[in-house]
């Protein structure tokens, strides 16, 4: 009999994205800041991604994820919609900037900033 162990779904950030988060934090004069990741209602498809450099620290209901020297704060309700997401960075002239590869997203709007589940 084979057994499988399922990894708990979490939110991850790519190394390239983490580098760019740190660069943005420095540019905003907050080199020690963290990244708030979340969703809010709205956008063409229903839910819109939120990314925010913050030096407020985590909230009581936040999950904290640390990777490549960057701490991500995700509130619990947003986490439901983001579990399994990989935050990546698409650079270059044709790049889109930060990209959410979200396995929960059934559809995304034309500009890619909102999604439905």
């Amino acid at each position: 009999m084979t057994t499988t162990t399922s990894q708990p779904l979490t939110i991850t950030i790519s190394e390239d994205a983490a580098v760019h988060v740190k660069q943005f934090a420095v540019a905003e004069g907050k080199p020690e800041a963290d990244l708030r990741v979340g969703v809010k209602g709205g956008g063409c498809s229903g839910l819109t991604y939120i990314l925010d450099i913050t030096d407020d620290g985590p909230g009581d209901n936040d999950k904290i994820i640390e990777e490549y020297g960057v701490r991500l704060f995700v509130d619990k309700k947003s986490y439901i919609f983001l579990a399994g997401t990989v935050l990546e960075y698409s650079g270059g002239l044709n790049g889109k900037g930060f990209v959410f590869n979200n396995p929960n997203a059934k559809t995304t709007c034309g500009c890619g900033t909102s999604f439905s589940v």
């Binding site: 969703v39 809010k40 209602g41 709205g42 063409c44 229903g46 839910l47 900033t113 909102s114």
Partner: protein
């Protein structure tokens, strides 16, 4: 349209939600078709459509700024659905939603005139804007509305004092039964939840253009609604029909023209109806067949 005046008890025909919290206005702006963010001061109000991400109608809302927050008027049967929809999209926002339908009265005075001195003068007031007033000593929110070509006033207040308000209205006005009101609203081309306001149809088909802002930015369903408008992709239009016999109930029946299905009747009462037909057929005077009855397009409700 007939000369019509009186008042109707919309207590259960409409629903009322109270939204409080610093993000309530912003959240509703992100969820509905109209520029709700413009409602910056007490008394202001606006109609707006709640749409799915496919641009289909959930309900037509009246959104009003009160002292403590927002009063959202829904269709009676849609209240739970609207409340759940708003609640689902309340994630990090400071918004508390409460269904106050059972705690509030809601009367609509139809065909208002300045002679009815107990009512506030809403002359010149924009539709959906309101004013705090007292009727029979009862604090009420009076909202100015236009239904068809008639001016109306909606009165909303605490249900505890609803009987006093109704007694005062009875002194001046005749109470209109809901079935009479339904006939009036069909004649006025006012869409209703479950008939014209369903996820079968989009706001442009249903003549809800006045409740859509095309430059407000994103809201749920915006991409679809904007595309339909920009590329003139609306396939059906809501029209009003008339027919000779008052005996036929045609709601839900298909509409045919030259033996081809061209639409569906969505409301019908006493020889009057509303239905959606293919755009090419939506011309005043066009005659079609519905369940064997000859029906004539009397008005185009969606331009």
């Amino acid at each position: 349209m007939n000369k019509f005046s009186g008042y109707v008890d919309l207590g259960t025909h409409k629903g009322r939600l109270s939204l409080i919290g610093s993000d309530a206005l912003d959240l509703l702006d992100r969820l509905t078709t109209n520029r709700i963010s413009d409602l910056t001061s007490m008394g202001m109000g606006m109609g707006a459509v709640l749409t799915t991400n496919k641009g289909r109608i959930i309900d037509l809302l009246g959104i009003h700024v009160e002292e403590k927050g927002l009063m959202v008027v829904t269709s009676g049967n849609a209240t739970e659905k609207v409340s759940d929809w708003i609640d689902f999209y309340t994630i990090m926002e400071d918004v508390q939603i409460k269904n106050v339908s059972d705690q509030t009265f809601h009367f609509r005075v139809i065909g208002t005139s300045p002679e009815i001195e107990v009512l506030p003068d809403t002359t010149g007031m924009k539709p959906f804007h309101g004013v705090q007033t007292e009727l029979a000593g009862v604090p009420s929110l009076a909202i100015s509305l236009q239904v068809g070509n008639l001016s109306c006033i909606d009165l909303i207040g605490s249900v505890v004092s609803g009987d006093s308000v109704q007694s005062k209205l009875d002194e001046y006005l005749k109470e209109i039964r809901i079935d009479e009101y339904n006939h009036f609203r069909i004649d006025a081309g006012e869409p209703a939840y479950g008939s014209e306001l369903t996820e079968e149809f989009n706001p442009l088909e249903a003549g809800l253009l006045p409740y859509i802002s095309f430059n407000k930015g994103c809201y749920i369903g915006q991409e679809v609604v904007a595309r339909l408008n920009t590329y003139d992709k609306v396939q059906r239009k809501l029209v009003k029909f008339k027919w000779d016999s008052v005996d036929y109930e045609l709601s839900g029946k298909v509409i045919e023209d030259e033996d081809r299905v061209v639409g569906v009747m969505t409301s019908s009462l006493n020889g009057l109806g509303m239905g959606f037909v293919r755009k090419a057929k939506a011309e005043e005077g066009n005659v079609m067949i519905c369940d064997g009855v000859k029906i004539t397009v009397a008005d185009i409700l969606a331009d």
